[in-house]
């Protein structure tokens, strides 16, 4: 049976009907078209699906959609303000911290929320540039141990 799901996504209130066995990742991508949320491993290991849930980085592939009821969700699409990219996005571009780009949304959102980047994999292995970008953006620490 479907349930009502009310949440704020990138500053906009949304009201949906969702089956409770769907993940937040699926709802964001399939129902709201926010394909900046990437599905990598789907088991919480790669961090590509990272979103901010009430300001905190979580993996949306292991978040059940009904768990986001009443929450505020930020995806990579929500960072730019008035057509201007956010400072972390600018830093990633300035430092060439993007290769194929698949891991980038998750990297940027994780870097904005946590002071270590342990939960994001880059299979292009561009970690050095990513570290540089995060330092450039003035975040604290940000050394990927991965």
């Amino acid at each position: 049976m479907k349930r009502r799901l009310n949440m704020t996504v990138n500053g906009h209130a949304v009201a949906l009907e969702v089956a409770p066995h769907r993940t937040l990742l699926e709802v964001l991508r399939e129902d709201l078209g926010l394909t900046g949320v990437r599905e990598g491993c789907s088991t919480g290991d790669c961090g590509a699906c990272t979103v901010l849930l009430n300001g905190k980085a979580v993996v949306s592939c292991l978040t059940l959609a009904p768990d986001a009821e009443g929450a505020s969700v930020t995806t990579i699409e929500g960072l730019a303000k008035d057509g201007k990219l956010d400072a972390m996005q600018e830093a990633f571009i300035a430092k060439g911290a993007i290769q194929c780009g698949f891991c980038t949304p998750g990297m940027i959102l994780a870097a904005k929320s946590a002071d270590v980047l342990e939960g994001n994999l880059c299979r292009c292995t561009g970690y050095a540039k990513i570290q540089e970008a995060i330092r450039h953006a003035g975040s604290r620490g940000g050394s990927p141990h991965a």
Binding site: M1, R3, A19, P20, H21, R22, T23, S42, T43, G44, D45, G47, T50, K56, A57, V58, V59, C61, L62, T63, L64, P66, D67, A110, S113, A114, V116, E118, G119, N120, H145, A146
Partner: protein, 258 residues
């Protein structure tokens, strides 16, 4: 995942009665173990009972001779708790070394223990601290010493209709440490883990990932290496694990004594 029914009880009583209803019912806390199992279709499920709307299961509370950690306390909350930091460095270290920031923000203490992995990181420190598990079922509340809580991989002493509501830890502070040996520096389960605590002159040792359950052992590296019962798996061979126990237990004991 296959479709399932979904409930959000607001009280422990309501959750217990839902859990006892006919069908295959599963409790959801942080979901970081459960969702992985459901996605792999390892566990049949008719109904998922989400505990997260039960406020009384949250938080860390000091009262008298005990500190109670609510079952829904996240690993991140444990890692940041001053109560934990000033009393039990070994528990704080175990929380800090788990998974990733994203997973630590979601994963709960109760889920870590109830999932009963032999490698559950919170288990060795809590075994050293003689924690008690508080369980509530249709017949009321009972406490289970953590040493009799783990029954095998994925199995606990909880009855099928019981919920873990919290973990009570004797409030005495303990010196000590937690050592987790992994093949990578982050986001890996332990090949071997060792916790050591000195609680009012008594030295205690516990091991993870080297037996069907996490275990308390005598505070001696030689005995620990003899008592453990490791297996060969993708992470390491049994022989290598036994050798690691000897070395890491020795280091943990030396560190705790210094």
């Amino acid at each position: 995942m296959r479709p399932f029914e979904y409930e959000e009880p607001r009280s422990i009583e309501e959750a217990v009665s839902l859990l006892g209803a006919p069908g295959k019912n599963r409790l959801l806390a942080g979901g970081t173990d459960l969702l992985v199992r459901l996605k792999r279709r390892e566990w049949p499920v008719d109904r998922v009972i989400n505990l997260k709307r039960i406020e009384t299961l949250r938080g860390i509370e000091e009262r008298g001779d005990w500190v109670t950690v609510g079952a829904l306390t996240t690993i991140e909350e444990l890692e940041r708790s001053e109560v934990v930091a000033k009393r039990w460095p070994l528990l704080r270290e175990a929380a800090m070394e788990m998974a990733s920031p994203q997973v630590r923000a979601m994963a709960t203490a109760g889920g870590n223990l109830c999932n009963a992995s032999p490698a559950a990181d919170l288990a060795p420190p809590l075994l050293c601290l003689d924690a008690q598990m508080i369980a509530v079922g249709p017949r009321g509340e009972r406490t289970i010493a953590i040493r009799s809580f783990f029954a095998g991989p994925g199995r606990t002493a909880l009855a099928p209709d019981e919920i873990l509501t919290g973990i009570r830890i004797p409030s005495a502070p303990a010196r000590g440490c937690f050592i987790k040996f992994c093949t990578r520096r982050a986001m890996d389960l332990a090949v071997v883990s060792v916790a050591c605590a000195v609680v009012s002159k008594e030295t205690r040792l516990a091991l993870g990932a080297v037996a069907p359950t996490p275990i308390r052992v005598a505070a001696s590296a030689e005995e620990a290496a003899m008592r453990c019962a490791p297996i060969d798996d993708v992470r390491a061979t049994a022989e290598y694990r036994r050798e690691l126990v000897r070395v890491l237990a020795g280091r943990a004991l030396a560190k705790a004594a210094s």
